[in-house]
């Protein structure tokens, strides 16, 4: 009997001895439970829970809706107000400059007329 035959015989004997192996009790139920808790299913369950929660939540009133919308617009409104202040200050400065220029021109004209006299 060659070594190769020994090897094959041993494999055959161990195959035969392990033929009776079967899953432990409750294996099938554990598999189905694992499938229920698999991430893909969990995502589906979360979606279903969210939908159920939404179905049981009463619709918000007009005031709540307005308040929620206003809160969302608050940053935009604050930015717009800041820009308006900056614009107003700039416009005010330019008006002051223009008024100062015209006053200087008037003074120069007055001096010129006095010198002529």
């Amino acid at each position: 009997m060659s070594e190769q035959e020994d090897l094959e015989q041993r494999l055959a004997r161990l195959a035969s001895a392990t033929d009776a192996l079967r899953p432990s009790a409750g294996f099938s139920a554990r598999v189905m439970l694992a499938i229920d808790h698999a991430p893909a299913h969990a995502a589906h369950a979360a979606h279903a829970a969210h939908a159920a929660h939404a179905a049981h939540t009463p619709a918000p009133s007009f005031l709540e809706t307005t308040w929620l919308s206003a809160r969302r617009l608050l940053p935009v409104t604050a930015f717009a107000a800041a820009m308006a202040v900056v614009w107003a200050v700039q416009v005010d400065d330019s008006i002051d400059d223009e008024l100062a220029t015209s006053y200087t021109s008037e003074l120069a004209a007055s001096y010129a007329s006095l010198e002529l006299e």
Partner: protein, 176 residues
């Protein structure tokens, strides 16, 4: 079309309970295959359970193209899972000695456990892919073409793994 393929059709059409039929019809041979590669039943059940979860996800996501039979496809998922688990087990240098409740004849279970233990001692010197090829051929009775399909490699690669596995086992015998 056999019962298994019909059950797959039902899962594809959204019948989750049909997957239980697939598990009931295939778990015995898949756990046995897993145990022969892993060397113990507890690890085999973990691998097979994970394989079923992957299979269910793939079925419901429409990723099973049915180019191979359902049996071959499940074999492939289990063999790949067992090879990965065996590799990570080797990296951690630990083997699970967790006991499982057989739920069936104690004498037959004791004999099978002893045989698994002997198999593990004998084949632990082999790289997981060589061990899987040897188990598929000599214990599961698959031919090289079927092993190639299950392992997703060429027949030449299967032949090479089998030759190397047997050479390693012969050398081990000569040394002992």
């Amino acid at each position: 079309m056999d019962t298994l393929e019909k059950a797959v059709d039902r899962v594809l059409s959204g019948d989750r309970s049909a997957f239980q039929q697939i598990v009931d019809a295939t778990s015995q041979k898949l756990v046995r295959l897993g145990a022969r590669i892993m060397g113990n039943q507890a690890d085999a059940e973990d691998v097979v359970q994970e394989a079923y979860v992957k299979a269910y996800r793939a079925l419901t996501a429409g990723e099973f193209d049915r180019r191979s039979s359902t049996n071959t496809w499940l074999y492939r998922i289990v063999v790949n899972g067992a090879i990965d688990a065996k590799r990570s087990q080797k990296r951690r240098s630990e083997a699970s000695d967790e006991q499982v409740d057989p739920g069936w004849d104690g004498a037959a279970f004791a004999e099978a456990r002893l045989a698994l233990s002997e198999l593990e001692d004998w084949l632990q010197a082999l790289p997981p892919d060589q061990r899987a090829a040897l188990v598929l051929q000599s214990m599961e009775g698959l031919n090289n073409s079927e092993i190639a399909q299950v392992m997703g490699v060429s027949e030449g690669a299967v032949e090479q793994r089998l030759v190397r596995a047997r050479a390693t086992l012969r050398q081990k015998r000569e040394r002992s």
